[in-house]
Point group: C2
């Protein structure tokens, strides 16, 4: 079976598993926690450094907390490694710790054992009184995105062309935990873009039972994407190129604040489409795994 089919069955059994992170009401607030598994071959180009691997492994979980509007409390990293070479283990931990600190939290522990392929599983825990779910977008809300899109595609192009150091820099994306917290209580729905803008739009649309129209010219494009991709390639890279981990969210016009994102479209009744100079075209529910 495909991952997505199995995940659908799991979601039917564990309702909490349907959002970016699980929510547990606790005292006067909610605890939020999430876990992500990454593998050496599937998730990291060959020239990825151990430091970048450590950073990115915890960044994906911190990004899930950000997408709920949660403040991080700590991160754990479980770690299966074939060699258990001291210097690379330490570099992975260094990268993971630095990423945690950049997000205002700390690496608190984990587990380690020998495994045939480097496998990293990070778990991030946070809290928020106002978790932002994927469900909640209302027709008439504005659609916004944090930061710039295309960073990971630019990184992959740099890996492919031998600009290894630049590629690693780009691959260590900043988890948007600060912006996520600012958006708790403001955004009506939110998701992190882990699978391309188009796929994330469809996930948000399905959960909220709405549609979106995105204005092509409003999309904020990462300068490194502009540098490394032809103008013909850029739009596909942003729409279907995935793993940017920016926050995609909806907000009512009255509560819009420009400091934590850019308006790229609006919520409509149904359908997901892109508005270009040539007209409106439907956006396929197609993501990272199928991108050319």
């Amino acid at each position: 079976m495909r991952e997505s089919q199995i995940l659908q069955i799991i979601r039917a059994r564990i309702p909490e598993a349907g959002d970016d992170a699980a929510i547990v009401p606790f005292r006067d607030t909610n605890l939020v926690f999430t876990t992500d598994m990454l593998h050496r071959k599937t998730d990291f180009p060959e020239q990825t450094t151990p430091r970048t691997i450590g950073w990115r492994s915890v960044a994906v979980s911190l990004s899930d907390l950000a997408a709920m509007g949660a403040q991080p409390l700590g991160v754990l990293l479980a770690f299966g490694d074939p060699a258990l070479d001291e210097s690379s283990v330490m570099e992975v931990l260094e990268g993971a710790s630095t990423c945690c600190e950049a997000a205002g939290t700390r690496l608190l522990g984990g587990d380690l054992d020998r495994h045939q392929e480097l496998t990293l599983v990070s778990t991030a825990i946070g809290h928020t009184r106002d978790p932002v779910l994927r469900y909640g977008a209302k027709v008439g809300d504005l659609l916004c995105v944090t930061g710039e899109l295309g960073r990971t595609q630019a990184a992959l192009r740099c890996f492919a062309t031998g600009s290894t150091e630049r590629a690693n820099d780009l691959f260590r994306f900043p988890p948007r935990t600060t912006w996520g917290q600012q958006l708790a209580g403001l955004a009506t729905s939110m998701i992190d873009i882990s699978d391309g803008l188009a796929r994330s739009l469809h996930l948000l649309a399905q959960a909220s039972k709405v549609g979106f129209v995105v204005t092509s010219s409003a999309l904020p494009i990462h300068p490194e994407l502009l540098r490394h991709f032809t103008s013909a390639e850029r739009l596909d890279a942003v729409l279907f190129g995935g793993e940017d981990y920016e926050l995609l969210y909806t907000v009512s016009k009255e509560r819009l604040r420009t400091e934590s994102g850019k308006v790229i479209g609006r919520v409509i009744n149904s359908g997901v489409s892109l508005c270009t100079a040539e007209g409106e075209i439907p956006l396929a529910n197609q993501g990272w795994e199928h991108a050319a």
Copy 2:
């Protein structure tokens, strides 16, 4: 390098990583969380059922919470599987959910992807006002253990002799979360026996800077160990046979309560030894991975 060497280096860098679980002070209490990685080949005999694999994967993390005296709030399970066969994935989740419910908590979510070897990483989160650490045993305290020892060794013998159903039953050990919570505020130090009684005694002794003398005849032996092991084999199986996940703890004489454990010895100044009819013999710091 060996796992234990790397773990020592990590502990020097992340002080919180030294106990069974990480502790984060939060509101009027402490959040406690822990993660454990298990692999198909290393951690499960070939005839282990998917249901048992799911159960045991979350039970090891719940046991870590128990060893801190924490009440569980929820569990996540990340899951790399080569086949992603629906029925076995569902059986793994069924086992994991049932174990969570037996411990008074729930499976709240996780992650799933395709991986060459079945790899399971569980994370358990709990809370307690009075976390019990490995550090805190005092000379004169009594040494106690919950339940009975040798269950996992009996399971392995049943796997080896083809009693697969009985082996699976024994392998699905109950995490001692209820007893752990009863011991919070009472026990002066605690650890779960994940590596044999002898190794756990040494870990507790090192952390608390004390020693132990254990009375051989007081050790509670699991009836299935009595059934499947000769009298000559039993003591070694209990001392060095590991992975029983019972709680080993110390408590002052005044605060001893017999309902959550049996006295097996006492805290002394230094050294770890076993008191038998023939006299006192030192107990080697030797555990599961080296057992014959």
